[in-house]
Symmetry: C2
Subunit: 223 residues, 2 copies
Amino acid sequence: MATSRSRRFKDDVFEQFTRIGKAVASPKRLELLDILCQGPRTVDVLAGHAGLSLANASQHLQVLRTARLIEAEKSGLFVTYRLADGVEGFYLDLRRLAEARLAEVEATTRAYLEERGAMESVDSDALLQRALSGDVTVLDVRPPEEYRAGHLPNARSVPLSELRSRLGELPKDREVVAYCRGPYCVLAIEAVRVLREEGYTAVRLESGPPDWRAAGVPVEASS
Amino acid sequence: MATSRSRRFKDDVFEQFTRIGKAVASPKRLELLDILCQGPRTVDVLAGHAGLSLANASQHLQVLRTARLIEAEKSGLFVTYRLADGVEGFYLDLRRLAEARLAEVEATTRAYLEERGAMESVDSDALLQRALSGDVTVLDVRPPEEYRAGHLPNARSVPLSELRSRLGELPKDREVVAYCRGPYCVLAIEAVRVLREEGYTAVRLESGPPDWRAAGVPVEASS
DNA sequence: CGATTAGTCAATAGACTTCTTGAGTATGCG
DNA sequence: CGCATACTCAAGAAGTCTATTGACTAATCG
Protein backbone atom coordinates (compact mmCIF):
# COMPACT_ATOMS: atom_id res chain seq x y z
CA MET A 1 0.00 0.00 0.00
CA ALA A 2 1.20 3.46 -0.90
CA THR A 3 -0.24 5.03 2.22
CA SER A 4 2.52 4.10 4.63
CA ARG A 5 5.14 5.42 2.25
CA SER A 6 3.33 8.71 1.82
CA ARG A 7 2.82 8.88 5.59
CA ARG A 8 6.58 8.69 6.00
CA PHE A 9 7.04 11.37 3.35
CA LYS A 10 4.64 13.73 5.10
CA ASP A 11 6.21 13.07 8.48
CA ASP A 12 9.63 13.87 7.02
CA VAL A 13 8.48 17.09 5.41
CA PHE A 14 6.72 18.40 8.51
CA GLU A 15 9.70 17.37 10.61
CA GLN A 16 11.80 19.63 8.40
CA PHE A 17 9.38 22.55 8.70
CA THR A 18 9.51 22.07 12.43
CA ARG A 19 13.19 22.99 12.46
CA ILE A 20 12.12 26.56 11.76
CA GLY A 21 9.38 26.33 14.37
CA LYS A 22 11.70 24.93 17.03
CA ALA A 23 14.20 27.68 16.33
CA VAL A 24 11.60 30.31 17.21
CA ALA A 25 10.16 28.37 20.14
CA SER A 26 12.43 29.93 22.76
CA PRO A 27 12.16 33.51 24.04
CA LYS A 28 15.93 33.88 24.14
CA ARG A 29 16.32 32.87 20.53
CA LEU A 30 13.60 35.26 19.46
CA GLU A 31 15.42 37.99 21.33
CA LEU A 32 18.65 37.11 19.53
CA LEU A 33 16.84 37.32 16.19
CA ASP A 34 15.38 40.66 17.24
CA ILE A 35 18.85 42.01 18.00
CA LEU A 36 20.23 40.61 14.75
CA CYS A 37 17.53 42.54 12.85
CA GLN A 38 19.54 45.65 13.76
CA GLY A 39 22.58 44.23 12.00
CA PRO A 40 25.36 41.64 12.36
CA ARG A 41 26.80 41.15 15.85
CA THR A 42 29.49 39.12 17.58
CA VAL A 43 28.64 36.41 20.09
CA ASP A 44 29.48 38.31 23.26
CA VAL A 45 27.66 41.45 22.18
CA LEU A 46 24.61 39.29 21.55
CA ALA A 47 25.05 37.53 24.88
CA GLY A 48 25.26 40.88 26.66
CA HIS A 49 22.14 42.32 25.02
CA ALA A 50 20.07 39.22 25.64
CA GLY A 51 21.29 38.66 29.19
CA LEU A 52 22.81 35.25 28.51
CA SER A 53 26.07 33.61 29.48
CA LEU A 54 28.53 33.35 26.62
CA ALA A 55 28.25 29.56 26.42
CA ASN A 56 24.48 29.65 26.49
CA ALA A 57 24.29 32.35 23.81
CA SER A 58 26.67 30.33 21.66
CA GLN A 59 24.44 27.31 22.05
CA HIS A 60 21.29 29.18 21.06
CA LEU A 61 23.11 30.61 18.07
CA GLN A 62 24.05 27.08 16.99
CA VAL A 63 20.37 26.15 17.06
CA LEU A 64 19.44 29.13 14.90
CA ARG A 65 22.28 28.29 12.59
CA THR A 66 21.27 24.65 12.10
CA ALA A 67 17.81 25.94 11.21
CA ARG A 68 19.62 28.18 8.65
CA LEU A 69 18.05 31.31 10.06
CA ILE A 70 21.43 32.91 10.69
CA GLU A 71 24.92 32.67 9.22
CA ALA A 72 28.28 32.84 10.95
CA GLU A 73 31.52 34.31 9.74
CA LYS A 74 34.76 34.09 11.64
CA SER A 75 37.39 36.78 11.31
CA GLY A 76 40.29 36.80 13.72
CA LEU A 77 39.10 36.13 17.22
CA PHE A 78 35.52 37.16 16.50
CA VAL A 79 32.58 35.24 15.12
CA THR A 80 29.99 37.52 13.59
CA TYR A 81 26.43 36.28 13.14
CA ARG A 82 23.97 37.78 10.69
CA LEU A 83 20.39 37.04 9.64
CA ALA A 84 19.95 34.86 6.58
CA ASP A 85 17.87 36.06 3.60
CA GLY A 86 14.17 36.38 4.22
CA VAL A 87 14.45 35.91 7.96
CA GLU A 88 13.90 39.53 8.97
CA GLY A 89 10.60 39.50 7.09
CA PHE A 90 9.58 36.23 8.68
CA TYR A 91 10.41 37.50 12.16
CA LEU A 92 8.31 40.62 11.58
CA ASP A 93 5.44 38.46 10.33
CA LEU A 94 5.66 36.34 13.46
CA ARG A 95 5.67 39.43 15.64
CA ARG A 96 2.73 40.92 13.78
CA LEU A 97 0.76 37.70 14.17
CA ALA A 98 1.54 37.60 17.89
CA GLU A 99 0.43 41.21 18.29
CA ALA A 100 -2.74 40.60 16.34
CA ARG A 101 -3.74 37.35 18.01
CA LEU A 102 -2.44 37.62 21.55
CA ALA A 103 -4.15 40.32 23.55
CA GLU A 104 -1.57 39.64 26.27
CA VAL A 105 1.18 41.29 24.23
CA GLU A 106 -0.67 44.57 24.18
CA ALA A 107 -1.56 44.24 27.86
CA THR A 108 2.08 43.66 28.83
CA THR A 109 3.21 46.63 26.77
CA ARG A 110 0.51 48.89 28.13
CA ALA A 111 1.35 47.89 31.69
CA TYR A 112 5.00 48.76 31.17
CA LEU A 113 4.24 52.07 29.50
CA GLU A 114 1.80 53.10 32.21
CA GLU A 115 4.34 52.27 34.88
CA ARG A 116 6.79 54.52 33.06
CA GLY A 117 4.13 57.23 32.80
CA ALA A 118 4.37 57.20 29.05
CA MET A 119 0.84 56.30 28.05
CA GLU A 120 -0.17 57.93 24.83
CA SER A 121 -1.82 57.03 21.60
CA VAL A 122 -0.31 58.44 18.47
CA ASP A 123 -1.20 57.48 14.92
CA SER A 124 2.03 55.76 14.04
CA ASP A 125 1.83 56.20 10.25
CA ALA A 126 1.07 59.90 10.50
CA LEU A 127 3.94 60.34 12.93
CA LEU A 128 6.35 58.57 10.59
CA GLN A 129 5.26 60.91 7.80
CA ARG A 130 5.95 63.91 10.02
CA ALA A 131 9.36 62.52 10.92
CA LEU A 132 10.13 62.18 7.22
CA SER A 133 8.80 65.66 6.38
CA GLY A 134 11.59 67.56 8.11
CA ASP A 135 9.18 69.70 10.20
CA VAL A 136 10.32 68.14 13.47
CA THR A 137 13.63 67.27 15.12
CA VAL A 138 14.15 63.52 14.64
CA LEU A 139 16.36 61.78 17.20
CA ASP A 140 17.93 58.35 16.81
CA VAL A 141 18.76 57.42 20.40
CA ARG A 142 20.45 54.08 19.73
CA PRO A 143 24.20 53.53 20.07
CA PRO A 144 26.12 55.31 17.27
CA GLU A 145 27.12 52.14 15.40
CA GLU A 146 23.49 51.17 14.97
CA TYR A 147 22.72 54.65 13.66
CA ARG A 148 25.52 54.22 11.16
CA ALA A 149 24.10 50.88 10.02
CA GLY A 150 20.83 52.54 9.01
CA HIS A 151 18.62 55.44 10.10
CA LEU A 152 15.80 57.72 8.93
CA PRO A 153 16.92 60.28 6.33
CA ASN A 154 16.83 63.36 8.55
CA ALA A 155 17.46 61.81 11.94
CA ARG A 156 20.41 62.93 14.02
CA SER A 157 22.28 60.50 16.23
CA VAL A 158 22.02 61.29 19.93
CA PRO A 159 22.53 58.12 21.95
CA LEU A 160 20.39 57.98 25.07
CA SER A 161 23.51 57.97 27.24
CA GLU A 162 24.55 61.35 25.83
CA LEU A 163 21.11 62.92 25.63
CA ARG A 164 21.24 64.93 28.89
CA SER A 165 24.62 66.44 28.10
CA ARG A 166 23.72 67.35 24.53
CA LEU A 167 20.37 69.02 25.10
CA GLY A 168 22.00 72.29 24.03
CA GLU A 169 22.01 71.07 20.43
CA LEU A 170 18.23 70.77 20.35
CA PRO A 171 16.01 73.83 19.77
CA LYS A 172 13.35 74.02 22.50
CA ASP A 173 10.62 75.39 20.25
CA ARG A 174 10.62 72.46 17.88
CA GLU A 175 8.76 69.21 18.48
CA VAL A 176 11.04 66.21 18.96
CA VAL A 177 10.35 62.70 17.62
CA ALA A 178 12.57 60.00 19.13
CA TYR A 179 12.93 56.44 17.92
CA CYS A 180 15.10 53.43 18.72
CA ARG A 181 15.13 49.78 17.61
CA GLY A 182 11.44 49.15 17.39
CA PRO A 183 8.28 48.71 19.43
CA TYR A 184 9.86 46.57 22.17
CA CYS A 185 13.01 48.60 22.68
CA VAL A 186 12.90 50.93 25.66
CA LEU A 187 15.53 53.51 24.71
CA ALA A 188 13.14 55.97 23.06
CA ILE A 189 10.67 55.65 25.94
CA GLU A 190 13.38 56.84 28.33
CA ALA A 191 14.50 59.56 25.91
CA VAL A 192 11.00 60.99 25.68
CA ARG A 193 10.73 60.99 29.47
CA VAL A 194 13.97 62.94 29.80
CA LEU A 195 13.01 65.40 27.08
CA ARG A 196 9.61 66.10 28.65
CA GLU A 197 11.20 66.63 32.03
CA GLU A 198 13.34 69.26 30.38
CA GLY A 199 10.35 71.02 28.88
CA TYR A 200 10.40 69.68 25.36
CA THR A 201 7.40 68.52 23.40
CA ALA A 202 8.50 65.00 22.58
CA VAL A 203 6.87 61.83 21.23
CA ARG A 204 8.09 58.35 20.59
CA LEU A 205 7.95 56.76 17.15
CA GLU A 206 7.30 53.09 17.87
CA SER A 207 8.62 51.58 14.68
CA GLY A 208 12.30 51.04 13.92
CA PRO A 209 14.66 50.33 11.03
CA PRO A 210 13.55 46.69 10.51
CA ASP A 211 9.93 47.82 10.17
CA TRP A 212 10.85 50.60 7.74
CA ARG A 213 12.94 48.35 5.57
CA ALA A 214 10.04 45.90 5.37
CA ALA A 215 7.64 48.73 4.49
CA GLY A 216 9.89 50.28 1.84
CA VAL A 217 10.58 53.47 3.81
CA PRO A 218 14.01 54.88 2.86
CA VAL A 219 16.70 53.97 5.40
CA GLU A 220 20.07 55.67 4.94
CA ALA A 221 23.38 54.16 6.00
CA SER A 222 26.40 55.93 7.50
CA SER A 223 26.81 59.74 7.97
CA MET B 1 17.97 51.40 37.86
CA ALA B 2 15.47 51.07 35.04
CA THR B 3 17.35 48.25 33.37
CA SER B 4 16.01 45.39 35.44
CA ARG B 5 12.47 46.55 34.90
CA SER B 6 12.94 46.82 31.18
CA ARG B 7 14.64 43.41 31.21
CA ARG B 8 11.50 41.96 32.73
CA PHE B 9 9.36 43.72 30.13
CA LYS B 10 11.42 42.31 27.26
CA ASP B 11 11.39 38.83 28.75
CA ASP B 12 7.61 39.01 29.06
CA VAL B 13 7.12 40.18 25.49
CA PHE B 14 9.38 37.55 23.97
CA GLU B 15 7.76 34.92 26.15
CA GLN B 16 4.47 35.89 24.56
CA PHE B 17 5.88 35.73 21.02
CA THR B 18 7.19 32.32 21.88
CA ARG B 19 3.66 31.01 22.28
CA ILE B 20 3.31 31.24 18.51
CA GLY B 21 6.74 29.67 18.03
CA LYS B 22 6.00 26.79 20.38
CA ALA B 23 2.72 26.14 18.64
CA VAL B 24 4.56 25.53 15.36
CA ALA B 25 7.42 23.61 16.95
CA SER B 26 5.85 20.19 16.57
CA PRO B 27 5.45 18.34 13.26
CA LYS B 28 2.03 17.06 14.23
CA ARG B 29 0.73 20.53 14.97
CA LEU B 30 2.07 21.83 11.66
CA GLU B 31 0.29 18.99 9.95
CA LEU B 32 -2.94 19.91 11.72
CA LEU B 33 -2.54 23.50 10.56
CA ASP B 34 -1.88 22.27 7.05
CA ILE B 35 -5.10 20.26 7.06
CA LEU B 36 -7.03 23.18 8.52
CA CYS B 37 -5.85 25.33 5.60
CA GLN B 38 -8.25 23.25 3.49
CA GLY B 39 -11.14 24.30 5.69
CA PRO B 40 -12.74 23.68 9.12
CA ARG B 41 -12.68 20.12 10.43
CA THR B 42 -13.88 18.13 13.42
CA VAL B 43 -11.45 16.61 15.89
CA ASP B 44 -11.69 13.03 14.76
CA VAL B 45 -11.37 13.90 11.08
CA LEU B 46 -8.21 15.83 11.96
CA ALA B 47 -6.94 12.95 14.07
CA GLY B 48 -7.52 10.54 11.21
CA HIS B 49 -5.73 12.67 8.62
CA ALA B 50 -2.74 13.35 10.85
CA GLY B 51 -2.44 9.81 12.13
CA LEU B 52 -3.03 10.71 15.77
CA SER B 53 -5.13 9.18 18.53
CA LEU B 54 -8.22 11.18 19.38
CA ALA B 55 -6.90 12.24 22.77
CA ASN B 56 -3.55 13.24 21.37
CA ALA B 57 -5.11 15.24 18.55
CA SER B 58 -7.36 16.98 21.04
CA GLN B 59 -4.34 17.90 23.12
CA HIS B 60 -2.43 19.33 20.17
CA LEU B 61 -5.50 21.30 19.18
CA GLN B 62 -5.65 22.77 22.69
CA VAL B 63 -2.08 23.97 22.30
CA LEU B 64 -2.87 25.63 18.98
CA ARG B 65 -5.95 27.14 20.52
CA THR B 66 -4.14 28.65 23.51
CA ALA B 67 -1.74 30.21 21.02
CA ARG B 68 -4.91 31.57 19.31
CA LEU B 69 -3.95 30.11 15.97
CA ILE B 70 -7.23 28.20 15.72
CA GLU B 71 -10.76 28.60 17.01
CA ALA B 72 -13.22 25.98 18.19
CA GLU B 73 -16.96 25.86 17.82
CA LYS B 74 -19.13 23.20 19.35
CA SER B 75 -22.38 22.17 17.74
CA GLY B 76 -24.15 19.08 19.00
CA LEU B 77 -21.67 16.32 19.59
CA PHE B 78 -19.04 17.79 17.27
CA VAL B 79 -16.34 20.34 17.86
CA THR B 80 -15.21 22.05 14.68
CA TYR B 81 -11.83 23.77 14.55
CA ARG B 82 -10.93 26.46 12.05
CA LEU B 83 -7.88 28.63 11.39
CA ALA B 84 -7.90 32.07 12.98
CA ASP B 85 -7.43 35.20 10.85
CA GLY B 86 -4.01 35.65 9.33
CA VAL B 87 -2.83 32.17 10.22
CA GLU B 88 -3.07 30.65 6.75
CA GLY B 89 -0.76 33.37 5.45
CA PHE B 90 1.66 32.85 8.31
CA TYR B 91 1.74 29.10 7.75
CA LEU B 92 2.48 29.61 4.06
CA ASP B 93 5.26 32.08 4.96
CA LEU B 94 6.77 29.53 7.31
CA ARG B 95 6.58 26.85 4.66
CA ARG B 96 8.13 29.13 2.06
CA LEU B 97 10.98 30.02 4.42
CA ALA B 98 11.61 26.36 5.15
CA GLU B 99 11.65 25.55 1.44
CA ALA B 100 14.00 28.42 0.72
CA ARG B 101 16.43 27.85 3.57
CA LEU B 102 16.40 24.09 4.10
CA ALA B 103 17.83 22.18 1.17
CA GLU B 104 16.67 19.02 2.96
CA VAL B 105 13.02 19.76 2.20
CA GLU B 106 13.66 19.67 -1.52
CA ALA B 107 15.84 16.58 -1.16
CA THR B 108 13.10 14.72 0.74
CA THR B 109 10.50 15.70 -1.83
CA ARG B 110 12.69 14.75 -4.75
CA ALA B 111 13.49 11.39 -3.18
CA TYR B 112 9.79 10.61 -2.76
CA LEU B 113 8.89 11.70 -6.29
CA GLU B 114 11.70 9.68 -7.83
CA GLU B 115 10.63 6.61 -5.91
CA ARG B 116 7.14 7.09 -7.32
CA GLY B 117 8.61 7.54 -10.79
CA ALA B 118 7.10 10.99 -11.05
CA MET B 119 10.13 13.16 -11.53
CA GLU B 120 9.41 16.12 -13.74
CA SER B 121 10.03 19.81 -13.82
CA VAL B 122 7.16 21.99 -14.91
CA ASP B 123 7.02 25.75 -14.69
CA SER B 124 4.35 26.01 -12.05
CA ASP B 125 3.11 29.52 -12.90
CA ALA B 126 2.78 28.74 -16.58
CA LEU B 127 0.94 25.53 -15.75
CA LEU B 128 -1.49 27.38 -13.48
CA GLN B 129 -2.19 29.82 -16.33
CA ARG B 130 -2.93 26.92 -18.66
CA ALA B 131 -5.23 25.38 -16.08
CA LEU B 132 -7.09 28.68 -15.85
CA SER B 133 -7.24 29.12 -19.63
CA GLY B 134 -9.71 26.28 -20.27
CA ASP B 135 -7.48 24.60 -22.90
CA VAL B 136 -6.87 21.54 -20.73
CA THR B 137 -8.98 19.21 -18.60
CA VAL B 138 -8.50 20.28 -14.97
CA LEU B 139 -9.05 17.62 -12.32
CA ASP B 140 -9.55 18.23 -8.62
CA VAL B 141 -8.77 14.82 -7.11
CA ARG B 142 -9.52 15.66 -3.47
CA PRO B 143 -12.57 14.35 -1.62
CA PRO B 144 -15.76 16.04 -2.86
CA GLU B 145 -16.34 18.14 0.27
CA GLU B 146 -12.97 19.80 -0.17
CA TYR B 147 -13.80 20.53 -3.80
CA ARG B 148 -17.02 22.14 -2.64
CA ALA B 149 -15.15 24.32 -0.15
CA GLY B 150 -13.08 25.88 -2.93
CA HIS B 151 -11.62 24.90 -6.31
CA LEU B 152 -10.20 26.32 -9.54
CA PRO B 153 -12.86 27.90 -11.79
CA ASN B 154 -12.94 25.21 -14.47
CA ALA B 155 -11.86 22.20 -12.47
CA ARG B 156 -14.08 19.16 -12.27
CA SER B 157 -14.27 17.04 -9.14
CA VAL B 158 -12.98 13.51 -9.63
CA PRO B 159 -11.79 12.14 -6.27
CA LEU B 160 -8.75 9.88 -6.61
CA SER B 161 -10.79 6.93 -5.29
CA GLU B 162 -13.22 7.25 -8.21
CA LEU B 163 -10.69 8.11 -10.90
CA ARG B 164 -10.28 4.62 -12.40
CA SER B 165 -14.01 4.05 -12.71
CA ARG B 166 -14.73 7.47 -14.21
CA LEU B 167 -12.06 7.55 -16.92
CA GLY B 168 -14.85 7.39 -19.50
CA GLU B 169 -15.75 11.01 -18.68
CA LEU B 170 -12.32 12.24 -19.77
CA PRO B 171 -11.45 12.78 -23.45
CA LYS B 172 -8.20 10.98 -24.27
CA ASP B 173 -6.94 13.60 -26.73
CA ARG B 174 -6.92 16.44 -24.21
CA GLU B 175 -4.10 17.11 -21.80
CA VAL B 176 -5.05 16.62 -18.14
CA VAL B 177 -3.84 18.79 -15.25
CA ALA B 178 -4.48 17.31 -11.81
CA TYR B 179 -4.15 19.07 -8.48
CA CYS B 180 -4.90 18.31 -4.84
CA ARG B 181 -4.23 20.09 -1.54
CA GLY B 182 -0.83 21.50 -2.28
CA PRO B 183 2.82 20.63 -2.75
CA TYR B 184 2.99 18.05 0.06
CA CYS B 185 -0.23 16.24 -0.69
CA VAL B 186 0.20 12.99 -2.61
CA LEU B 187 -3.25 12.57 -4.19
CA ALA B 188 -2.41 14.32 -7.48
CA ILE B 189 0.87 12.40 -7.77
CA GLU B 190 -1.09 9.13 -7.70
CA ALA B 191 -3.73 10.49 -10.05
CA VAL B 192 -1.12 11.45 -12.65
CA ARG B 193 0.43 7.99 -12.38
CA VAL B 194 -2.93 6.32 -13.02
CA LEU B 195 -3.74 8.64 -15.93
CA ARG B 196 -0.40 8.02 -17.62
CA GLU B 197 -0.82 4.27 -17.22
CA GLU B 198 -4.08 4.63 -19.09
CA GLY B 199 -2.44 6.53 -21.92
CA TYR B 200 -3.32 10.10 -20.99
CA THR B 201 -0.98 13.05 -21.17
CA ALA B 202 -1.18 14.24 -17.57
CA VAL B 203 0.76 16.62 -15.32
CA ARG B 204 0.49 17.60 -11.69
CA LEU B 205 -0.09 21.17 -10.61
CA GLU B 206 1.83 21.46 -7.35
CA SER B 207 0.01 24.36 -5.77
CA GLY B 208 -3.36 24.11 -4.06
CA PRO B 209 -6.25 26.27 -2.86
CA PRO B 210 -4.34 27.82 0.10
CA ASP B 211 -1.58 28.96 -2.25
CA TRP B 212 -4.08 30.38 -4.75
CA ARG B 213 -6.00 32.27 -2.12
CA ALA B 214 -2.75 33.82 -0.88
CA ALA B 215 -1.78 34.74 -4.45
CA GLY B 216 -5.14 36.22 -5.38
CA VAL B 217 -6.04 33.54 -7.90
CA PRO B 218 -9.85 33.12 -8.10
CA VAL B 219 -11.09 30.15 -6.07
CA GLU B 220 -14.75 29.24 -6.50
CA ALA B 221 -16.90 27.60 -3.86
CA SER B 222 -19.61 24.94 -4.27
CA SER B 223 -20.99 23.70 -7.63
C1' DC C 1 -34.07 6.07 31.10
C1' DG C 2 -29.64 3.76 29.57
C1' DA C 3 -26.46 3.29 25.74
C1' DT C 4 -23.61 5.47 22.32
C1' DT C 5 -20.70 8.89 20.41
C1' DA C 6 -17.42 12.98 20.29
C1' DG C 7 -14.42 15.08 22.79
C1' DT C 8 -11.84 16.57 26.99
C1' DC C 9 -9.13 15.83 31.33
C1' DA C 10 -5.48 13.84 34.41
C1' DA C 11 -1.64 11.09 35.32
C1' DT C 12 2.53 9.29 33.96
C1' DA C 13 6.74 7.27 31.54
C1' DG C 14 10.05 8.52 28.29
C1' DA C 15 12.07 11.83 25.37
C1' DC C 16 13.79 16.22 24.51
C1' DT C 17 15.52 21.19 26.08
C1' DT C 18 17.66 24.48 28.75
C1' DC C 19 21.18 26.43 31.58
C1' DT C 20 25.36 25.83 34.01
C1' DT C 21 29.96 24.47 34.69
C1' DG C 22 34.36 23.46 33.39
C1' DA C 23 37.46 22.10 29.92
C1' DG C 24 39.16 22.67 25.09
C1' DT C 25 40.49 25.21 20.72
C1' DA C 26 41.99 28.84 17.82
C1' DT C 27 43.75 33.46 17.15
C1' DG C 28 46.37 37.36 18.34
C1' DC C 29 49.48 40.13 21.20
C1' DG C 30 53.64 41.43 23.91
C1' DC D 1 57.16 31.64 23.45
C1' DG D 2 53.39 32.26 27.10
C1' DC D 3 49.23 34.41 28.05
C1' DA D 4 44.69 36.56 27.15
C1' DT D 5 40.56 36.60 24.47
C1' DA D 6 36.46 34.89 21.97
C1' DC D 7 34.25 31.20 21.30
C1' DT D 8 32.86 26.20 21.15
C1' DC D 9 32.21 21.58 23.13
C1' DA D 10 30.66 18.03 26.58
C1' DA D 11 28.29 16.45 30.51
C1' DG D 12 24.72 16.62 33.75
C1' DA D 13 20.78 18.38 36.75
C1' DA D 14 16.31 20.44 36.37
C1' DG D 15 12.64 21.46 33.77
C1' DT D 16 9.35 20.88 29.79
C1' DC D 17 6.90 18.37 26.16
C1' DT D 18 4.78 14.24 23.98
C1' DA D 19 2.03 10.13 23.50
C1' DT D 20 -0.59 6.82 25.91
C1' DT D 21 -3.85 5.23 28.97
C1' DG D 22 -8.08 5.22 31.26
C1' DA D 23 -11.58 7.83 33.43
C1' DC D 24 -14.96 11.73 32.77
C1' DT D 25 -18.54 14.89 30.58
C1' DA D 26 -22.01 16.39 27.42
C1' DA D 27 -25.18 15.67 23.73
C1' DT D 28 -28.01 12.50 21.21
C1' DC D 29 -30.86 8.48 20.23
C1' DG D 30 -33.96 4.64 20.91
